[in-house]
């Protein structure tokens, strides 16, 4: 078989890892696969951070997984920003897991970038702290954390939906 690669998410203080997410909805609680309408973000506040990783549970006959990229389908509405640590240059390396928070901890965890809304031309999420990293074993093995947070101002309005896209290369 080909490599088995999923997007995982970590939640809680004890880091409960869900191996394969079914959505990347963000809201006012720390939960995987949440229903956004049940957990609205108050204007002026932030969503809880998302801590996601590419997870390789089996390489199958392949040699490695590399070149990870993430991007959103569109920007959020005015007065809302989708922040992330994913970046194509000046990557800050792997972040150490912290219990997801609705506080703005972007300075600590380097999610100071706005999520790209077009397919990145270069890898923007690292493996082993490097954008040039490779996953060559699967026990399972994870990428660096992809951090995301929606930050709003008091003028933010509801109604905009965006979706996430994930990409990787497999060398077989």
């Amino acid at each position: 078989m080909a490599a088995t690669v999923t997007v995982s998410e970590s939640n809680g203080s004890g880091e409960t890892v869900t191996a394969s997410i079914t959505n990347s909805n963000m809201g006012s609680t720390d939960a995987v696969n949440l229903v956004a309408s049940n957990f609205p973000i108050t204007a002026g506040g932030n969503s809880y951070e998302k801590w996601q990783r590419f997870r390789v549970s089996d390489l199958g006959g392949s040699y490695c997984i590399k070149n990870l990229r993430v991007w959103a389908s569109a920007a959020l509405a005015a007065y809302s920003t989708h922040k992330t640590n994913a970046r194509e240059s000046a990557y800050d390396g792997a972040q150490t897991y912290g219990t997801p928070s609705a506080s703005d901890r972007s300075a600590t965890y380097d999610y100071t970038q706005t999520m790209p809304i077009v397919q990145p031309t270069l890898p923007n999420l690292g493996i082993g702290g490097s954008l040039a990293g490779e996953i060559t074993t699967a026990v399972p093995t994870f990428s660096d954390y992809l951090l995301q947070q929606i930050q709003t101002t008091a003028s933010a309005v509801v109604g905009k939906t965006i979706t996430m896209n994930y990409q990787y290369d497999e060398i077989a």
């Binding site: 078989m1 080909a2 199958g60 006959g61 031309t121 270069l122 896209n165 060398i171």
Partner: protein, 132 residues
């Protein structure tokens, strides 16, 4: 046959399902190495002896093969690009592109087999964008 055996360096094995498109390395001495061998073995791309390569083919059960007549000194390229788009929506798509070609210090040529079987020739796979 759709399942092939891959013999890992650590002595373990795994089954590998045959891809829609797979590679065949044809050597100058007339021998060849198939990604999915007639003996039921799966071979990794890095097993190809590029120094003795005559041509590199991507083959399909029903479509004509795509052939690279080898230029000595080039570096062979082959990988799969996977995209998971619009995650968590009714429109979610999982796409695999077959990418192969060659490069040298001065330039790169990559052929990309698209999901509909079409082929894009490019020097930059990242220039290919798929989405609604």
């Amino acid at each position: 046959m759709t399942e092939y055996i891959f013999y890992r360096e650590d002595g373990t094995t795994c089954e590998v399902t045959k891809e829609q498109w797979s590679w065949v390395a044809q050597y100058l001495d007339g021998t060849s190495l198939c990604q999915f061998g007639e003996d039921g073995r799966f071979h990794q791309f890095r097993e190809i002896n590029q120094a003795n390569l005559g041509s590199f083919l991507m083959v399909h059960e029903t479509a004509p093969p795509l052939v690279l007549h080898w230029i000595p000194g080039m570096k062979l390229i082959h990988f799969y690009r996977h995209m998971r788009l619009e995650v968590g929506t009714p429109n979610e798509m999982q796409i695999q592109l077959y990418c192969f070609g060659y490069e040298c210090a001065a330039y790169k040529v990559i052929l990309v087999i698209m999901p509909d079987g079409g082929v894009v020739v490019t020097n930059d796979v990242d220039s290919i964008s798929i989405g609604r």
